[in-house]
């Protein structure tokens, strides 16, 4: 697909074509990622600002097993996404669809583990307002940041399913898979900031 697909067909021969040699949809995804980076950065700055300014900041995590498994799964899903894209580029529609669905499945496992972790924390008495270990701000910022991330993962899963099915049906092509892949990798990358800042820094000594 080229620029032509995004504007009205008959006009496109006359345009200079996309800047940076990438299609407009992909460029728009990069712009979205820039904006979303600002949003996540704002949330992480809020967290850091509050954490540094609060004396009784809790460190409730005793084990990194769960978060390590979650990280492993999300990183693996980035890999399967890449394999899916490579298959799509090679024209292997069946494999591309399969790997996209596997990526979605890994996303679902991640979300499941994440929600299970949330429920455990809630079980221990942690809410947006208070927790048994220290300032209530911990719960507020933890649920906000991981909640924002989980929202992104959920949207990503839905998008993977929709794009995957429509790709199989012929409505979308390899470029759409690539654009979606950009988003998925971005969600993965954000997680790589969330893990050290929100989990590892709050490990119990």
């Amino acid at each position: 697909m080229s620029q032509a697909d995004l504007t009205i067909g008959h006009s496109t021969t006359q345009t200079l074509g996309p800047a940076f040699s990438i299609p407009t949809k992909k460029f728009a995804m990069w712009l979205f990622i820039i904006a979303d980076t600002m949003t996540f950065a704002a949330c992480l700055v809020v967290y850091g600002f509050l954490r540094n300014g609060t004396p009784n900041w809790p460190r409730p995590f005793h084990s990194i097993t769960n978060v390590a498994i979650m990280t492993f799964i999300l990183l693996t899903s980035s890999l399967t996404m890449l394999i899916g894209l490579r298959s799509a580029r090679a024209g292997d529609k069946g494999a591309a669809f399969r790997w996209t669905m596997i990526t979605a499945a890994l996303g679902i496992v991640f979300a499941f583990l994440h929600i299970r972790e949330w429920l455990e924390l809630i079980d221990h008495g942690m809410t947006l307002l208070k927790n048994p270990w220290g300032t209530g701000l911990f719960g507020a910022s933890f649920f906000s940041i991981t909640g924002l991330h989980l929202t992104h993962v959920t949207c990503g899963i839905i998008a993977l399913l929709v794009v995957g099915v429509r790709y199989k049906g012929g409505r979308y092509n390899a470029d759409d898979i690539e654009v979606l892949g950009l988003y998925w990798h971005f969600v993965d990358l954000v997680w790589m900031f969330v893990v050290p800042l929100v989990y590892l820094l709050n490990l119990a000594h």
């Binding site: 504007t7 009205i8 067909g9 006359q14 345009t15 979303d36 704002a42 700055v45």
Partner: protein
């Protein structure tokens, strides 16, 4: 290539009324919708300022009908101090977001950016439509706070913490009012993010053949630079608004310090930071100031060049200066926080780039003024308002030098000096940019000319009026007149009341002069003189090379090719002293002759 058919299908000219005029995908219709929204918002904001000014000058005087707006806020038509602050908040919010951002950026940008680059539409028309309707809903949500609960929030357009987070204990409107405010502004952010996404991709990806980046008109550059700011700034305000809503609805305390006592009651919130909100808000807020003014810089340069009949002294310098404004605007936000109690070293660190940012601003103005020198400027409403823009931008900008320095700002920050400063440099200046753009592009948008006599009357009344209103603000500030007071009962403020009365009279008259504009706009739209041709100003850029008003696909199925730099004036061509960007004619320029 299956997508082509799909896109072409939903992109054919719509036939139903709803698709044509309401939920339109056409960037021109969306631009006009934005303009209409800004027009309504501007008059609402202006009426609010009238109420405030009358109350400030004649404290006990009842304003007839005000009690209908709020029985508790204005019993018998005399507003309470709280209601004064509520009106002030709404005035600021409406003007900054729904007028100064929507009109010069979203309205004119939507209408003319795709045409100026030669595109048939923006790349994502559905996002574009959503952008407007989300903004429209945001406006309705904000307006609804007038009638819901105990009225709109009273925290000012900056919504400082902890006032914005503790709930109704902080005063009327601080409960539901704040939630509505934050919802509205959060939605507004979404709308502008979608718009910015479209603007950037349009500018970079949809240029026609021959339209290199340096051949883009200054307006297109200004909108492009503004959208880059919008993409990053609104993405920060949005989560900030969500956190405020969480503080209200869920009971978190991101922005409330522990053990805060209000009305002898310890607040249940604990642990957050009040300063944090200011950091988040101003990281957005300062770029926002430039989002309001940079499109004006572009529009005014574009109009002046057309009327001077020669290009600016340096096209590139203007572009680079606007770009520098955008980059620096992120580094200076702390100058709004000199009195916030942040580390004094931070004040110093923010003061330096603030002084640096005056350099590109000054360069822009100097290039404009020196280009004007010796030119035979065609005097019309558009060029007059452009000159007025420069005048206001300079007059308001000069006081910025004072405020950039923490030692002086600490004295002046909470006074009318700051109010005068920002009203002139970003309020009135940006307004004049909107007016200039309206007079200039009206013939292209409607096919009719606006009345020049009324336009000139509108200019002189607004120009003199704006100075009469806002210059005395500086004097009041230096005399120690505090901001945000609804009445001046202290001994040292009593002698200043006559100045306030003068300002109020000036504000009423200047506001009334805007009705001339409204009349001119509506009358000319339906009964104005028909535009003599497609290019009444003998301009060069692409929007003047197409039919009037432009057809659905902007160029009627044709594909313009660009042969020239945007501002080829003062040349000898077959049509006169200019050559259009789309004209293949080879011309002899003045520089060739030398």
């Amino acid at each position: 290539m299956h997508d082509v058919a799909a896109h072409a299908a939903h992109h054919a000219p719509p036939t139903s009324f709803i698709r044509k005029h309401v939920f339109s995908l056409d960037h021109k219709v969306i631009g006009k919708q934005y303009y209409a929204l800004a027009l309504v918002a501007a008059f609402v904001g202006m009426f609010l300022s009238w109420f405030m000014r009358i109350h400030l000058a004649w404290n006990d005087t009842a304003i007839p009908g005000l009690q209908l707006l709020s029985k508790t806020g204005a019993p018998g038509g005399v507003m309470t101090p709280e209601y004064y602050l509520q009106l002030m908040t709404m005035h600021g919010t409406i003007m900054v977001f729904f007028v100064l951002t929507t009109a010069p950026f979203a309205a004119f940008g939507n209408y003319f950016l795709p045409i100026q680059v030669g595109a048939e539409d923006m790349p994502f028309p559905h996002f574009n439509m959503m952008s407007f309707w989300v903004t429209f809903v945001a406006f309705l949500v904000l307006m609804s706070s007038f009638i819901l609960g105990d009225g709109p929030t009273l925290g000012g357009w900056t919504q400082y913490a902890p006032l914005n987070a503790v709930g109704s204990v902080a005063g009327p409107g601080q409960g539901l009012g704040v939630v509505l405010w934050a919802t509205s502004i959060g939605l507004f952010c979404v709308g502008q993010l979608l718009g910015s996404l479209n603007f950037i991709t349009t500018t970079l990806d949809l240029r026609v053949k021959g339209m290199s980046l340096m051949r883009l008109p200054l307006t297109a550059w200004a909108w492009f630079i503004t959208s880059c700011m919008g993409l990053t700034a609104f993405a920060v305000l949005m989560p900030a608004c969500i956190l405020v809503i969480l503080d209200h609805v869920a009971g978190t305390s991101f922005f409330v310090a522990s053990n805060l006592v209000i009305n002898d009651q310890v607040q249940p919130h604990s642990g957050g930071s009040t300063l944090l909100w200011q950091h988040l808000f101003w990281f957005f807020g300062h770029p926002e100031v430039y989002i309001a003014i940079v499109p004006g810089l572009g529009i005014v340069s574009h109009i002046l060049i057309t009327n001077m009949r020669k290009p600016m002294l340096s096209h590139r310098t203007l572009i680079y200066s606007m770009g520098a404004l955008a980059v620096l605007s992120y580094m200076v936000y702390g100058h709004h926080m000199f009195v916030s109690g942040m580390n004094p070293f931070s004040s110093l660190a923010f003061s330096f780039p603030t002084l640096v940012i005056t350099i590109p601003s000054t360069i822009v103005v100097l290039v404009q003024v020196f280009s004007l020198y010796g030119s035979k400027l065609r005097i019309n409403s558009a060029s007059l308002f452009s000159l007025g823009f420069i005048s206001m931008f300079v007059a308001g900008g000069v006081s910025g030098f004072f405020l950039a320095q923490p030692s002086i700002d600490i004295m002046l920050h909470a006074t009318y000096f700051v109010v005068g400063h920002f009203h002139m440099v970003m309020g009135v200046a940006a307004m004049f940019g909107i007016f200039a753009g309206t007079y200039f592009w009206f013939p292209k948008m409607t096919g009719r000319m606006m009345n020049e006599t009324l336009g000139k009357a509108h200019f002189w009344l607004s120009f003199v009026g704006a100075y009469c209103i806002f210059m005395p603000f500086h004097y009041l500030g230096l005399a120690g007149n505090v901001r945000r007071y609804s009445s001046f009962v202290d001994d040292f403020l009593q002698p200043l009341i006559p100045v306030h009365r003068f300002i109020t009279v000036a504000a009423l008259l200047t506001g009334a002069a805007q009705l001339i504009f409204l009349y001119n706009l509506i009358h000319s739209r339906f009964w104005g003189k028909l535009a003599p041709n497609d290019n009444p100003w003998e301009a060069t850029s692409l929007e003047w090379s197409t039919a009037t008003p432009p057809p659905f696909d902007n160029f009627g199925g044709k594909h313009p090719v660009v042969y020239h730099d945007p501002y080829q004036y003062g040349v000898q061509s077959s049509v006169g002293d200019y050559v259009m960007q789309t004209s293949p004619e080879q011309v002899k320029t003045e520089s060739d002759e030398q």
